[in-house]
Every structure is written in structure tokens, then in C-alpha cells.
């Protein structure tokens, strides 16, 4: 496992990684729930496949962006076969850094007339 200490070293984040961090920002989720959340947030535009999801999860675990959590939700909502993932403080830092980067990009795009809205 290799840990990255500097959030900026991971930027720019792959889009799938950013979406997974967004899905975990509110609550811990298992893999299938992450797929559903990403699809819902993007209006069906991004449907993660199992292979893409779990490869990303593996990498994000190695980078320290997420951890597998042993805490389980309420029994009636729980599926004991599933593993839940939680965003780490470092993952939150990286997600914020990526959001700032994207915001700057959008601002530049607006200034150049490529995007509508205030620059």
C-alpha cells in the first residue's frame, strides 16, 4: 500500500474517482450503492461497471482516500455479504482540491465565452 501525503500530487483526479468520493461524502456505502448513487447524481450519464468501480476502489484504498469500514448500518438495511466504504479526511481534502481545480477551470471557460454564467 502506498500513501500519498500531498493532495495536489493526486490531481487531476480521474472522473470516476471524484464521483466515488462524492458518493461517499454523505454516508458510508457499499459498491452497488455507489454505482446507483453515481448514476442518480449524473442523471444516468455515468453508469459505473463493476470492474471499473472495484479497480478504482482498490486504488483509492491504496492511496488512502477511502477505507473499508467495519460499522454496519441498521440490520434491516444491512447485507452482511457487502463491504462498506467510507471517505477519509485525506479523501475529503483531495475531493475539495479537485473541486477547486474544476471551479477554476469553469471560471476560465466562462471568461473565454465557452461556458455561460458569470466568470
Amino acid at each position: 500500500m502506498f500513501m500519498v501525503e500531498n493532495a495536489d500530487a493526486l490531481l487531476p483526479l480521474p472522473p470516476v474517482t471524484f464521483h466515488i468520493l462524492l458518493a461517499l461524502a454523505d454516508e458510508d456505502r457499499h459498491g452497488y450503492a455507489i454505482i446507483q448513487d453515481v448514476a442518480m447524481r449524473t442523471g444516468g450519464e455515468l453508469k459505473l461497471s463493476a470492474g471499473t468501480l472495484y479497480r478504482s476502489i482498490q486504488r483509492m484504498l491504496e492511496q488512502g482516500l477511502i477505507v473499508e469500514t467495519r460499522e454496519r448500518p441498521a440490520p434491516e438495511l444491512d447485507d452482511e455479504r457487502r463491504r462498506y466504504y467510507r471517505i477519509t479526511p485525506f479523501g475529503e481534502t483531495v475531493a475539495r482540491a479537485e473541486a477547486r481545480r474544476l471551479t477554476r477551470l469553469v471560471r476560465l471557460a466562462r471568461a473565454s465565452g465557452f461556458a455561460t454564467g458569470r466568470a
Binding site: Y32, S49, A50, G51, L53, R55, Q58, R81
Partner: protein, 228 residues
């Protein structure tokens, strides 16, 4: 689902053991139709290749770190491995040429060597025995005899000691090979009093000119004869 589990074997074993069950759950939760299967197969193939590549990169990074920490040990390992590979290559090359490759003649599996075998040892055939065997044998289509010797070639530059073979006329016919130029031996060459006939190897022929008179000498007795 069984087919999906088989497809998962494309992933590295460690990845499959870690996430295989969850991936099966995700797949089972989706409505299965032909489009999903096509998408799944493409997804598995591409992601499995990427997963193997990720593993390889990790291993290479780890190896590079180890080499940087102990360059002397790494160099020793490389040298020893190189010696081992070289020795193996040499041994297998020899084994291939001597033991595995067939003889470069037509029907090599039909060629046999025969010896006299008195109890306890093996010996070459005497000429009278060879003649008797050739006449009386019904097991062999043809028979020829040969024995190795060495000769001095003089008269063409520096004298040279050349390995040679004396043989009966049948040998080349048996082997099914023909010379590049000229003829091989005939029954007339086997007759008593026939002129001495030599068949030169390609390498020797390259070295001497046909017009140059040469002497062939065996042991301490000198004989002069034209090359025929």
C-alpha cells in the same frame, strides 16, 4: 452467473479473491440481457488487462526500490542469472542438435549403424565380415561401410591435416545425398585396382583449385595421385 464467474478469472487472482463476490452481486442486481453481456465482456477484458498492468507496475516499482537499496546484490543476481541462462542455452542447443533434431538425410529413421558385438564389447566390422553380411542379410535394403581417418593435404599452400572418411561406394547412395558438383562414388570405384577417388567437402573445395596437383599422404607413407 456461472459464466460471469468464469470471466472473472481474467482478473489477477488477488483482485478476484478480494472483490469477486461483490462484483457478482453487482452483476446479479442488473437486468440481464444480450446488451449487458456484451458490455460486461468488454468491461471485464479491459479492466482485467488494466488490473494486470497495475500489478506489474507495482512489482516493477518494488523491484526498482530493492535494486536501488542493494545494487551490488542486484548485479550479482543479474550476473549469475545470465551465466545460468547462457549455460542452459548452450546445453539445450547441443542437446537439440545431437539428440532431438533428425539426421539431415531422407528417411533418417531408417538409417542404422551395425557393429560386431562379441560378448562384453563392441567392435567394427572386418572387411570379409562386411562382405558376408551384405551378401547374406535380408533385413536391410542396402549396406555400406566406412571408417574415419586423417590425411595430409600438400601442394596447395601450407600442408594441412584434414579429417577424412574411407567408405564403400554404397554409403552416399544409402544416405540419399548428392554432391554439389561432380559425382559420388560408383561400384567401379570399389573395384580392385580402381583409381583412388576423393570427394571433397565444400570447405576443402573452396580452399584448393582443381588444377593444382596435390598429394594425399596417409601416416608416414607418401602417395601421389591425381584428384579424381
Amino acid at each position: 452467473m456461472r459464466l460471469f464467474r468464469i470471466l472473472l478469472h481474467l482478473y489477477p487472482a488477488a483482485f478476484r479473491n478480494e472483490y469477486g463476490e461483490e462484483m457478482c452481486d453487482v452483476f446479479a442486481g442488473r437486468r440481464q440481457n444480450l446488451a449487458l453481456w456484451v458490455e460486461t465482456i468488454v468491461d471485464v477484458v479491459t479492466n482485467a488487462a488494466a488490473a494486470h498492468w497495475d500489478l506489474l507496475r507495482q512489482d516493477l516499482r518494488s523491484a526498482a526500490r530493492s535494486i536501488r537499496r542493494s545494487p551490488g546484490f542486484a548485479m550479482t543476481v543479474v550476473l549469475v542469472t545470465g551465466l545460468g541462462v547462457g549455460a542452459n542455452t548452450a546445453v539445450f542447443t547441443i542437446a537439440d542438435h545431437v539428440l532431438i533434431r533428425p539426421l539431415p538425410f531422407p528417411d533418417p529413421d531408417r538409417l542404422v549403424r551395425v557393429w560386431q558385438a562379441p560378448p562384453g564389447y563392441r567392435m567394427e566390422l572386418s572387411p570379409p565380415n562386411y562382405r558376408d553380411w551384405k551378401t547374406m542379410s535380408s533385413s536391410f535394403e542396402a549396406m555400406g561401410a566406412y571408417w574415419a581417418n586423417a590425411y595430409n593435404l600438400v601442394g596447395s599452400g601450407e600442408p594441412q591435416r584434414l579429417p577424412g572418411t574411407v567408405m564403400t561406394a554404397d554409403v552416399f547412395r544409402l544416405l540419399g545425398v548428392a554432391p554439389l558438383l561432380g559425382r559420388h562414388f560408383t561400384d567401379d570405384d570399389d573395384a580392385d585396382g580402381a583409381p583412388r577417388t576423393v570427394l571433397l567437402s565444400y570447405r576443402v573445395w573452396q580452399r584448393i583449385s582443381p588444377e593444382t596437383p596435390v598429394c594425399w599422404a596417409k601416416r608416414s607413407s607418401w602417395m601421389t595421385s591425381p584428384i579424381q
